[in-house]
């Protein structure tokens, strides 16, 4: 129907302002979907490629020491496709001109390059040569952070010996996409690196001739879904060699972080577009209802002329198609740009050889289809009433809207106190329930998005503060390779500038309660410890009981434990004698699944006396004292890791919180679009419908600002109510998003500071007022004289 297309084009042009608002809302929904799903797909593609290139293992086994010959048995174990042995060792890195002892993991590789499980990708230089035994390949991130290149010599302290290593190249490995130092939460490339040495060098230096302490393996396809029986068998067979842990890929630290991020993206890419599409449907419904009513006579005439219902339906549905297609087109562009920006941000967190943004035709097509469907739903709902009328009814003017009293008028005392302008506003709102509800819903969504923005930053900041101001009060943490006695503590107290030191006993173990089992670590803290102070709800201090375990709530829930229950604890090191220990308290734990016990009690339960795994120190050394302190720490043969709390806090703040802010704050703009789009649409339609009323006020002598004030009151009431409703909705949305980022390594608490609630309300009010400027302009520009001469 060519002529109806001509009508369509002109109708679209006439309503261009309002349609643009809806298109923008649809576009933002599409951009969220395309942007976040696109980013997720970028990460997944990069991960899959990287894992394939490096032949990422399906499981890791950490042991004390095992003869390599025992591997022959394991090679034939059903379920294992391939297995490789290696030596892994925590080392301290001593760089020239760097006082601070840096941490590292030493891993052995075959002397000859060959495809191997958890292999490496050379990034510069070359693989090992036959020229020197002490060649090392350094992880690229660390090398770049510390300016290390091929030909440099670095020193590694291992087994009490300071060894020079000759750098032949830099590399990456899929095992360390998220490269965290032990005990840290975020990557610290300048503080932690991975160092690949020849197998022979590792054997000689570490005394592992014909032995290994790490196995990495690939599973057969048929047991991937349920490898636990294989792991149980491995545990049994390798028990004589001191199995510390068997870690499947899904729990490997780097992969776990990446998986958590992908899960979070999946959640957000569902919720966010849904919010925008729902608002778009409602706003478009209001617009199309108005358009259909306005064209009621035209619809009736077309029907009278012999146009079929489907012709007229198809004519109007094209509005929805236009909105959907327009929104999708714009949204796909925006989405690609968003994915580009987010992918760039993720490069700061995740170490991929190649993490690029791509265009995904299927994703964009899906987004287009979704946008079209929502556009059509909004249109159909808006026009169906008029379409259903028979021609004669359609050509008759509609029955006048109900003009009775509204329920508020029953409170006559209060009602009379309101001025007539207030009464007009309230009557309009209550009589137009559909539109008022649309406005309330839109404002709720907009405010919810704004609150999610502020709440995300509050939640992340709370995590940082929780760890570094409530729980961890040490200035330094020294982790020892092997448990030592009280002598270590005395040695620490003699370090320059150190005024206090507390020992910590770490007992890696398996927890079991019936069918529930979980790997973890119990930290033994001295009575009334000051360096580590476990916290309960709302940061309440919780004292470590003299007996029993103080357990993270999340871990307790996973193990099905209640207060007073007993859990079976099987240490993976030392005597490895399982013991039953009662749970005497639960705590909040935002980082890791912490379990605490009294230091002396724990020592007794594992048949030790005064064992020290870690020391927490406090002090304010001068710079001269710090130099001496660091020099002496570096020389400790048992030192596995050194951490300065202030550096950790800074890394977490910068890498985690600040960068997240860059990704999250644009949500405020999205919220603004919802507010603006919904308010402009609703108000402009209202102005069109009430043109005669406005004209009457003008004739009576009202200024445009006074008329505008009535519209402002209406908007402040309905959008204000919506904004307030959006506050709990936003909290709930934030809670839902944060729960997707919960894993064994961290749990994002849902925290919204009082200022954030206030800021959300203030911003929402600001958006309402901002949109009103445009409404006021429309009132000023209304040709009210023409409205007076319009026929009824």
């Amino acid at each position: 129907m060519n002529i109806l297309n001509t009508k369509l084009r002109r109708d679209l042009w006439q309503t261009k302002g309002m349609l643009a608002a809806v298109i923008l809302i649809v576009a933002l929904g599409v951009s969220c979907l395309v942007g976040m799903m696109g980013t997720s797909q970028n990460l997944q593609l990069a991960r899959n490629l990287y894992y394939g290139q490096c032949r990422m293992a399906d499981f890791w086994v950490d042991l004390k020491k095992m003869p390599i010959v025992e591997l022959d048995d394991l090679d034939n174990l059903p379920g294992i496709s391939e297995i490789r042995n290696r030596i892994a060792f925590q080392v301290i890195v001593d760089l020239e001109g760097v006082e601070e002892p840096l941490s590292g993991t030493l891993l052995t590789l075959p002397a000859q390059p060959a495809p191997t499980i958890n292999g490496i990708l050379m990034r510069s230089g070359a693989y090992f040569t036959s020229r020197r035994q002490d060649e090392v390949i350094v992880s690229e991130a660390f090398a770049q952070a510390r300016g290390i290149t091929e030909g440099d010599t670095i020193h590694i302290i291992m087994n009490g010996q300071r060894k020079p290593l000759f750098v032949v190249g830099t590399a990456m490995s899929s095992e360390y996409v998220y490269m965290m130092p032990p005990g840290a939460i975020t990557p610290e490339p300048s503080r932690y690196g991975v160092f690949y040495v020849k197998r022979g060098f590792g054997e000689d230096t570490l005394g592992f001739h014909g032995a290994c302490n790490s196995l990495v393996g690939i599973l057969s396809e048929n047991i991937r879904e349920n490898p636990q029986p294989l792991f149980d068998e491995l545990q049994r067979r390798l028990a004589p060699y001191g199995v510390f842990a068997i870690t499947p890929l899904r729990l490997q630290a780097s992969n776990l972080n990446l998986a958590g991020e992908l899960a979070g993206l999946a959640t957000i890419s569902f919720f966010m577009p849904t919010i925008f599409m729902l608002v778009a449907v409602l706003v478009l419904n209001v617009l199309m209802s108005r358009l259909a009513q306005q064209q009621r006579t035209v619809v009736g005439t077309l029907k009278a002329l012999g146009y079929r219902n489907k012709d007229i339906f198809f004519h109007f549905i094209q509005f929805g198609i236009f909105v959907g297609a327009g929104g999708a087109l714009l949204g796909c562009f925006l989405g690609y740009w968003i994915a580009d920006g987010m992918t760039l941000q993720y490069r700061a967190f995740f170490d991929f050889p190649k993490l690029d943004n791509r265009f995904y035709p299927e994703l964009n097509l899906t987004a287009l289809i979704i946008a079209l469907i929502f556009g059509m739903i909004g249109t159909i709902k808006g026009i169906q009433t008029v379409l259903a009328l028979n021609p004669s009814e359609a050509m008759r003017p509609p029955a006048p809207p109900g003009g009775g009293a509204v329920f508020l008028e029953a409170w006559t005392g209060l009602w009379r106190k309101l001025g007539f302008q207030q009464q007009i506003v309230l009557r309009n709102l209550i009589r137009n329930k559909g539109r008022t509800l649309t406005a309330v819903f839109s404002a709720a969504m907009g405010a919810a998005l704004v609150l999610v923005t502020f709440g995300t930053m509050d939640s992340l900041q709370y995590m940082v503060n929780f760890r570094f101001e409530l729980v961890n009060h040490a200035d330094y943490t020294l982790t020892l390779r092997n448990d030592r006695g009280a002598g270590a503590l005395h040695e620490a107290l003699r370090l320059p500038g150190i005024i206090a030191a507390e020992p910590v006993l770490n007992v890696p173990c398996h927890f079991q309660n019936g069918a529930h089992a979980k790997r973890g670590v119990i930290q033994g803290l001295v009575h009334n410890a000051r360096m580590t102070t476990p916290r309960g709800e709302s940061g309440r201090l919780v004292r470590v009981p003299e007996s029993g375990l103080l357990m993270a709530k999340r871990l307790g829930k996973e193990l099905g434990l209640s207060l007073g229950d007993t859990v079976r604890v099987a240490p993976t090191q030392g005597l490895q004698q399982p013991v039953n220990i009662p749970v005497t308290g639960f705590i909040d734990s935002l980082f890791g699944l912490c379990v605490y016990a009294d230091y002396d009690y724990l020592n007794r339960r594992i048949s030790e006396a005064g064992a020290v795994s870690m020391m927490q120190l406090s002090g304010r050394p001068t710079s001269a004292q710090a130099q001496t302190l660091l020099r002496r720490i570096k020389s400790w043969p048992d030192l596995a890791d050194y951490a300065k709390t202030s550096f950790q806090k800074q890394a977490l703040q910068q890498t985690f919180v600040n960068k997240m802010g860059q990704m999250v704050y644009p949500l405020i703009l999205f919220g603004a679009v919802i507010f603006f789009g919904a308010i402009l649409n609703g108000s402009l339609i209202s102005i069109m419908e009430r043109a005669r009323e406005i004209a009457t006020f003008r004739v009576l002598g009202y200024q445009p600002t006074e008329i505008g004030a009535m519209f402002l009151r209406e908007n402040m009431i309905q959008y204000g109510i919506g904004s307030l409703l959006g506050l709990p909705l936003g909290w709930w949305l934030l809670y839902g998003i944060n729960s997707q980022y919960t894993n064994d390594m961290y749990s994002v608490a849902t925290v919204v500071q009082p200022m954030s609630w206030i800021k959300t309300v203030v911003l929402s009010a600001g958006f309402i007022l901002g949109a009103h400027l445009f409404v006021h302009r429309a009132i000023n520009r209304l040709k009210w004289q023409d409205a007076l001469s319009m026929k009824e």
Binding site: N2, G300, L305, G306, P391, S392
Partner: protein, 239 residues
């Protein structure tokens, strides 16, 4: 009355009843109407406001249905037709002229005529239709740029461009001044004479009956009919 119309009849209504439900009250608008309209005649239906003229026209035009009764047009009973069939009937057989023109405001004159020619089987050229109503120089004007009389003439052009068997005019002069109204009536009269179109005009203005071949008086009590032996030219009709 015979069950089916004879060959001379354009429209034959048999015991037409039309009731409307207004809340709890049932309003009887047409009460057992019988009438016959001959082909090629200009018939005027007069009656006071509320007598049911528009309702009757809408039923004949297939845009409303009788509560009971039969409406025979070209051997078919409209009352028994499905919605789809009625739409086809309107498309092929009926031209409608409305009191308030019902033009599409975003289309020009010629485009408004094209709205009907594009779905008609044997349509006139839209420009030709506009020439016939004296609007050759207004083809690209929008309704907002035209007077009431001009808009009504566009509405007439839209109706006649389909070359319908029956043209139905609902108070075609109701929104016009007397002089313009005369011109519109003259146009309708000429169309009847030159094209032999069956034209039915409803009006509350009794003097218009003088230009008709046949006049039907519609009241609350029923309908009476008489034929005019002498017809007045439209230009001489005053009301």
């Amino acid at each position: 009355m015979p069950q089916k119309p004879n060959g001379d009849s354009a429209v034959q209504c048999v015991q037409i009843h039309k009731n409307y439900q207004m809340g709890e009250v049932e309003v009887k608008v047409l009460r057992g109407l019988d009438l016959e309209i001959k082909k090629g005649q200009l018939t005027v239906i007069v009656g006071a406001s509320g007598a049911g003229k528009t309702t009757l026209l809408n039923i004949i035009g297939g845009i409303d249905r009788p509560t009971s009764g039969e409406v025979w047009v070209d051997g078919e009973n409209l009352a028994a037709m499905t919605d789809r069939r009625l739409t086809e009937y309107r498309r092929r057989k009926i031209g409608f002229v409305f009191q308030f023109y019902n033009l599409v405001p975003t289309l020009t004159s010629i485009e408004n005529v094209q709205v009907s020619t594009q779905i008609a089987d044997h349509a006139l050229d839209p420009a030709e239709a506009l020439k016939m109503v004296g609007l050759a120089d207004q083809m690209n004007h929008f309704p907002a740029q035209m007077s009431g009389g001009q808009q009504q003439r566009v509405s007439i052009a839209r109706a006649l461009a389909k070359q319908p068997a029956i043209m139905l005019c609902d108070e075609p002069t109701g929104a016009l001044d007397a002089h313009t109204g005369q011109r519109v009536l003259g146009l309708l009269s000429r169309l009847n004479e030159k094209m032999g179109a069956t034209i039915i005009i409803i009006t509350h203005a009794a003097p218009l009956a003088d230009m008709a071949h046949r006049v039907l008086h519609l009241t609350m009590d029923g309908i009476t009919a008489h034929d005019n032996t002498v017809r007045k030219p439209a230009e001489e009709i005053t009301w």
